[in-house]
Each structure stands twice: as structure tokens, then as C-alpha cells.
């Protein structure tokens, strides 16, 4: 799963006044030449901060992203589906960990990032603040949400920060299974009973627009895009990726015999792309602010997990301290 830059953050100051212009110039030249920047290399403070924010939000999204699907593990309709869903949710945990580990190389501790999530200071993808009401949602999430994630993540394998790029290579390798298992669920439902087909259509109706929002605000309202593209932290604009997603998803919906819930959706011969209806950005910003249907539930689940696991973390450290003392 994936999050893109969320909400209307204030413009990141492009360049700190105290930074050495020669170092800065050398850095810009390296990035422009598609070289990778590695943890101990000199980098502008704004680059570091933007990356910490982007990577940690991405990591938080993977972790919170386990909740909507975890909700269905015990109710998966067969052992096969249960094993698959379990493996997928475990992958999301793994993706979160790859990303936290990449962010930590920038000098931010795991605890700082966790604190930022639990206090509500750090954001995660808006998509996870929608509820998963039926089994068909497991299909729609895999197909659409993971599909949108792949669209976002594939270019990030070439992002300029080495540890982030390498984490994305691992993530992308694993993500394709997520999308295919979801689409397979949709195929099964779409070819099932009338009630099953209705369930699939209902899931598509509810997940379509939130999936389009996953690409982030329109380019015109994405103040940091230009700098992030120059720094190769971002490789395509939000609107370009969104368009690409719409164009590849429309025929997939047609194959299922399902209708995308957008009356304005139509092929534009001249552009060689689909036109689609206006996105409700007010809803997006409301969800970013934590007003999503299940935002409170999601945050409560994370806080409870952290609080209730505290004794385990402490006991494990105490045990190791005792063992060391004995050995000494």
C-alpha cells in the first residue's frame, strides 16, 4: 500500500540559508545525474526532512493498512483465502518495517516516528480511514488500492535516496501478488450469484473515489511537487499517475462486467486517455484531518497495540539485561 504526500503542507523551505553553496551545488548535480544519495552523504536539510516525512508517512500507511484487512482474516470464506489474506497482511507489516528502516538511516528513531503517528502529528494514507464492510472489500482493496499503490511505487524504485529506493524494490516485488489476489476475488464474485455480483459492484462504488484520491491533491495544489521532482524524491506528478491508473483500470472493470461509479467517465480520442469526473477534494482534506469514517477507530487500535505491548517490550529488554549481567 502506499501514501503520497498528504494534504496542504506549508511549502518546505527550499534551501536553508546556512548551507554551504558548494556542497549544495555538488548535491544538486549528483541528483540531476541520477546518482543515488546514501545515508552518510551530505544532503540539504530540506531534502532530509522531506524524505523523513514522506518515508515515515509511507511506513505508517503500511502499518495502519493492516487494520482494514485484518478485520476480515477470521471471516475469509475459505482456508485458501484465509491463508492468502494472512500472508498479505504480514507483507504489509514487512513493508512498514522496510520503510521505517530506510527512514531511520536519516537519523530519526523508530520511537520518534511511532510517537508522531500515535499523537496524530504524522499522517497516513486517507484510504485506510474507510471501513471494510463486506468480503468484496478485500477484492476491491487488492485490485484498486494496491493497484494505485503499485502505480505510485514503481517509479519510486528509482528515487534518489538509496535506502528508500531499495526498500521500494522489495515492496514492489511483493505488491503484485496483492493486486492479483484482489482481482481474483473480484472475478469470483462478479461471476457468482446475483447477490455476489451486487456485492462486488457495491465495493467498487465505495472504493473507486478514495482510490483516485490516493494519488494526492491535484498538481496545482501540490506545492512541493516541483522541488520533490527535481530531487528525484518523486518521479511523476500526482495527476499523471492518477490518469495512468484510470486508463489501465477501466478495461479491468469492463472485464468484470462492473460499472465504475463515474457518469463523466469516457474515452477521449483526442487525448488518447479517459476523461473522468471531478474528485471531491473537500472529502479528501476532511479525511486527512482525521474525519474519515473510521479514523478514530484506526488510531485507537494503534494506540492500544502500543500500550498493551509495552510490558512485552520492557520485559524483553529486562531479560536481556539480566542475561548480560549473569554472563559478565
Amino acid at each position: 500500500m502506499y501514501t503520497t504526500e498528504m494534504g496542504k503542507q506549508p511549502n518546505v523551505k527550499p534551501i536553508g540559508p546556512a548551507e554551504d553553496p558548494a556542497l549544495l551545488e555538488a548535491f544538486e548535480a549528483r541528483v540531476a545525474a541520477d546518482e543515488f544519495i546514501e545515508p552518510k552523504d551530505w544532503m540539504p536539510e530540506a531534502y532530509r526532512r522531506t524524505l523523513v516525512r514522506q518515508i515515515s508517512q509511507h511506513a505508517h500507511s503500511e502499518i495502519v493498512g493492516m487494520l482494514p484487512e485484518g478485520n476480515w482474516i477470521t471471516r475469509a470464506p475459505s482456508l485458501r483465502r484465509k491463508a492468502i489474506l494472512l500472508a498479505k497482511v504480514q507483507d504489509e507489516a514487512g513493508h512498514g518495517l522496510y520503510l521505517y528502516c530506510a527512514a531511520e538511516t536519516l537519523g530519526t528513531s523508530r520511537d520518534e516516528m511511532t510517537r508522531a503517528l500515535l499523537s496524530g502529528k504524522a499522517k497516513y494514507s486517507t484510504i485506510f480511514n474507510y471501513p471494510t464492510l463486506t468480503w468484496a472489500d478485500m477484492g476491491a482493496i487488492g485490485w484498486l488500492v494496491d493497484g494505485a499503490a503499485i502505480m505510485n511505487q514503481v517509479p519510486l524504485q528509482r528515487t534518489s535516496y538509496g535506502p528508500y529506493a531499495r526498500a521500494m524494490v522489495r515492496v514492489c516485488k511483493e505488491e503484485s501478488f496483492h493486486q492479483r489476489q484482489g482481482y481474483e476475488i473480484m472475478i469470483a464474485l462478479a461471476n457468482g450469484t446475483a447477490a455476489q455480483k451486487r456485492m462486488a459492484q457495491d465495493a467498487l462504488n465505495r472504493w473507486w473515489w478514495p482510490s483516485l484520491m490516493m494519488f494526492g491533491p491535484p498538481d496545482a495544489d501540490s506545492p512541493n511537487t516541483a522541488q520533490s521532482m527535481r530531487w528525484r524524491i518523486k518521479r511523476d506528478t500526482n495527476d499523471d499517475l492518477r490518469q495512468k491508473f484510470v486508463d489501465i483500470t477501466v478495461p479491468q472493470a469492463e472485464f468484470l462486467g462492473l460499472t465504475i461509479p463515474d457518469p463523466d467517465l469516457k474515452w477521449n480520442e483526442e487525448r488518447g486517455a479517459h476523461d473522468y469526473g471531478a474528485i471531491d477534494w473537500e472529502e479528501f482534506y476532511a479525511v486527512v484531518r482525521g474525519e474519515g469514517p473510521v479514523a478514530k477507530e484506526r488510531m485507537k487500535a494503534r494506540r492500544d497495540a502500543w500500550d498493551e505491548g509495552a510490558w512485552v517490550r520492557e520485559a524483553a529488554m529486562a531479560h536481556e539485561a539480566k542475561r548480560k549481567a549473569k554472563a559478565a
Binding site: K40, L97, Y98, E104, S109, D111, A167, R313, A316, R323
Partner: protein
């Protein structure tokens, strides 16, 4: 939250005959759990046959700012490469 589990760097040998290769890191209270976390995090799809975990604090790394003095001296020692030597074409197997 002050007592964060220490960080361990993880190295995986993909198969016999290959070196262990750095893949990332995990947090764990001790070496045994570090190995278990490394297994769950980095080898869910048969990515390896052997794991190393090393406390991150034990890694000593060269400073990228010194990479010039560190590595550039090798650049002007081209005589370390076989192509530096001029051998007539008629001489074979050399």
C-alpha cells in the same frame, strides 16, 4: 518509550556459493530475537539460506567526505590492470 530496542543490521545469503548481502535492519532486544525478526521481515519468500545480524552500533563505516583520499589513489595505478601491458598479438594464451 525511551527504552527502544536496539537496531541490528541484517545480511542474507541468497544461496550457497554467494556472499551474505546487506538487506536492511530490524529492532530486537537480543541476538536471538533479532534473527527471528530478520527471518520474518526479510525472508518470507525463500530469499535466503543463511542470516547474519550485527548490532548496528558495531558497524564502522568510512566517511563519504573522505572518499576522495580513500579511493582515488587507486585511479592512477592503472598498472594494476592486465590491459596496461603491451604484448604483441602473435603471443597467445597470455
Amino acid at each position: 518509550m525511551s527504552d527502544e530496542w536496539p537496531l541490528w543490521e541484517v545480511f542474507v545469503r541468497a544461496k550457497g556459493g554467494l556472499n551474505h548481502r546487506h538487506v536492511g535492519s530490524v529492532h530486537a532486544p537480543d541476538s536471538e530475537l533479532a534473527l527471528r525478526h530478520a527471518r520474518d521481515t526479510y525472508t518470507r519468500r525463500e530469499e535466503g539460506v543463511s542470516l547474519w545480524v550485527v548490532p548496528s552500533a558495531s558497524i564502522v563505516a568510512s566517511d563519504p567526505a573522505d572518499s576522495g583520499p580513500m579511493f582515488e589513489p587507486a585511479q592512477d595505478k592503472v598498472y594494476r590492470h592486465p590491459t596496461f601491458y603491451d604484448i604483441p598479438d602473435v603471443v597467445t594464451h597470455i
